[in-house]
């Protein structure tokens, strides 16, 4: 095939040039990596988690490297809706790259309120609903591991936003397909997974947890095969698009997700290791499609042979 394969995807109405996004919390709000990564090349940017008001996050240390990954307990530090919109949206609107805002709240009302606030903001392509952050007591993972809570929260937020709504699922549940299905039934337009795996490191000399928050979330290559399994299960359970992430370092890692059923993928931790990762992954997926004579990435999504 001599034509360039079609890399574009449509995720819940969000048109993306290619299926490769950058994951929430690993790309700041956009400008931080702009000198190193050509933002116009990305499928989409997912910004760091935002709640209603400025939020301090956790104490330091907030990050520790482990074999095959890192554990973070940032605790969703962020500027809050207004300050985010004012400070970063003018920058983000310069590009034709869709901006997905990762949102969270300390209770269901706040989740609803945050979602509602973004309805009138120009340049927001969708909302990723973080119900799976292991690093905050207030919201986050408590919602993501209780199916009734998750359903209720998603339905409520659904009523308050006209934007594509993408719940981000917790990985540490035995049957993630049930959560994916519950999200779909509650009105989600897509689901994304996985968030980080709850994890902990202890300094054996001081006998204290290394992270100030004691526990944090494991990300990076160590979690990739766990993520592939969860994405595969989620994709089988729903008919809405699934966004796969967890430990992507190479195009091959991303292709596993796509073959398992992900309509798009996100690069997280690997951007820290090599800011060029997302662009490398995009190029690699293109090369794979050409090599395999596939007209577009859509032909590959969920094409796993069992």
């Amino acid at each position: 095939m001599s034509d360039q394969p079609d890399m574009s995807v449509d995720i819940a109405g969000i048109r993306m040039k290619n299926p490769v996004m950058v994951a929430s919390g690993t790309f700041g709000y956009g400008p931080e990596y702009a000198d190193l990564v050509d933002i116009t090349c990305l499928g989409a940017i997912v910004v760091k988690g935002i709640c209603l008001d400025p939020w301090e996050g956790n104490d330091v240390p907030r990050m520790v490297e482990v074999r095959g990954g890192l554990i973070n307990a940032i605790g969703l530090q962020g500027p809050g809706v207004d300050s985010f919109v004012e400070t970063y949206m003018p920058f983000l609107r310069q590009f034709d790259t869709p901006v997905i805002v990762n949102i969270w709240g300390r209770d269901k009302d706040e989740y609803e309120e945050v979602a509602a606030r973004f309805n009138d903001v120009e340049g927001i392509a969708g909302l990723e609903l973080n119900i799976s952050c292991p690093n905050v007591k207030e919201g986050g993972i408590a919602f993501g591991t209780d199916i009734t809570m998750a359903s209720d929260l998603i339905s409520r937020v659904r009523k308050r936003t006209s934007l594509p709504l993408i719940p981000k699922l917790a990985p540490n549940v035995p049957q993630v397909g049930l959560f994916a299905k519950a999200a779909e039934d509650a009105g989600a337009d897509a689901v994304s997974l996985i968030n980080t795996l709850p994890a902990m490191v202890i300094d054996i000399e001081t006998r204290r947890p290394i992270l100030a928050n004691r526990v944090g979330g494991l990300s990076g290559p160590a979690i990739h095969p766990v993520a592939v399994k969860q994405v595969w299960e989620a994709a089988q359970a729903v008919s809405i698009p699934v966004i796969g992430m967890g430990g992507i370092e190479t195009a091959d890692d991303a292709l596993e997700f796509i073959i398992a059923g992900a309509a798009a993928v996100a690069v997280g931790t690997a951007t820290f290791t090599d800011p060029a990762t997302a662009v490398r992954v995009i190029d690699g997926i293109g090369a794979y499609l050409q090599r395999h004579d596939l007209a577009g990435v859509g032909e590959l999504v969920g094409s796993i042979r069992e």
Partner: protein
């Protein structure tokens, strides 16, 4: 700031556990200012996802060098970097030391590898002043020749008295500050937290300006991950997290909110 694949030209032990790594890195070297750092990907450190930050020690004629101490997995792996290897680094990063208001007779205060950015600074300004170098023992005292050849006065302290005066660097600094009578020298310091804090508190108490380069564990190095934060007091007195990588690593001592 850019990603640069730099070729290793020299890699040698300078003293004790300290090594200097000299790289061909025209883009980064050309843009570097004292107090800035590079975020280096340690070659062949499989299974490692984080880069390691190092202050820029020298940046001249398209070459950039760092001075590092082997303390853990990453820096130990760096020991095996060979001349000719390619090292991937991001830089220059951070704000660097503000040099405009340096004034007369500045004080540089260094602990361990903290001499690296201060040595760079010493060669980039027109004034000369006094450099305080402290360490546990003689093997931790580096770069004395750098400063002396530039015409700076060097005062050395070691905790075990094996070189210079015995004691902490702050003791030597106290003596010197007492000598300053009415002058308000600007301090520039880089070293371990305890030293920085002590230097900062003294300077603030004396009404001097002190610029401290903080050493925090880093993730991205560019301001995106919020791992490296430090509590900083704003003009309105409110305290908030600032990113050491992006908003620092150099902060005015008077705004740093140290942990209790």
């Amino acid at each position: 700031m850019q990603i640069e694949k730099a070729i290793v030209r020299i890699h040698e032990r300078v003293a004790g556990d300290y090594r200097e790594l000299v790289l061909d890195a025209p883009a980064t070297a050309g843009a570097a200012r004292p107090g800035q750092f590079v975020h280096l990907r340690v070659p062949r450190l499989d299974g490692s996802v984080l880069r390691r930050p190092f202050s820029i020690y020298r940046a001249r004629d398209a070459r950039l060098s760092i001075l590092y101490k082997s303390v853990g997995r990453g820096t130990r792996a760096m020991e095996s970097i060979a001349v000719g290897d390619t090292v991937d680094m991001i830089g220059p990063l951070g704000n660097g030391f503000p040099l405009e208001g340096i004034g007369e007779n500045p004080a540089l205060v260094a602990g361990g590898y903290g001499v690296a950015p201060l040595s760079f600074l010493a060669g980039e300004v027109d004034v000369r002043g006094t450099v305080f170098i402290g360490g546990a023992t003689a093997r931790d005292i580096l770069c004395v020749g750098d400063f002396e050849s530039l015409g700076w006065t060097v005062r050395i302290t070691t905790e075990d008295g094996s070189l210079g005066a015995k004691g902490l660097v702050t003791a030597a600094l106290d003596v010197w500050m007492a000598e300053q009578q009415g002058a308000s020298p600007v301090h520039y310091a880089c070293g371990p937290d305890g030293m920085l804090r002590a230097v900062g508190e003294r300077a603030v108490a004396a009404g001097h300006t002190a610029w401290l380069s903080l050493d925090k564990h880093m993730g991205c190095g560019v301001g995106a991950c919020l791992a490296c934060v430090q509590k900083i007091r704003g003009e309105d007195g409110s305290v908030s997290w600032k990113r050491v990588c992006k908003d620092g690593p150099v902060f005015d001592a008077s705004v740093i909110e140290w942990d209790a």
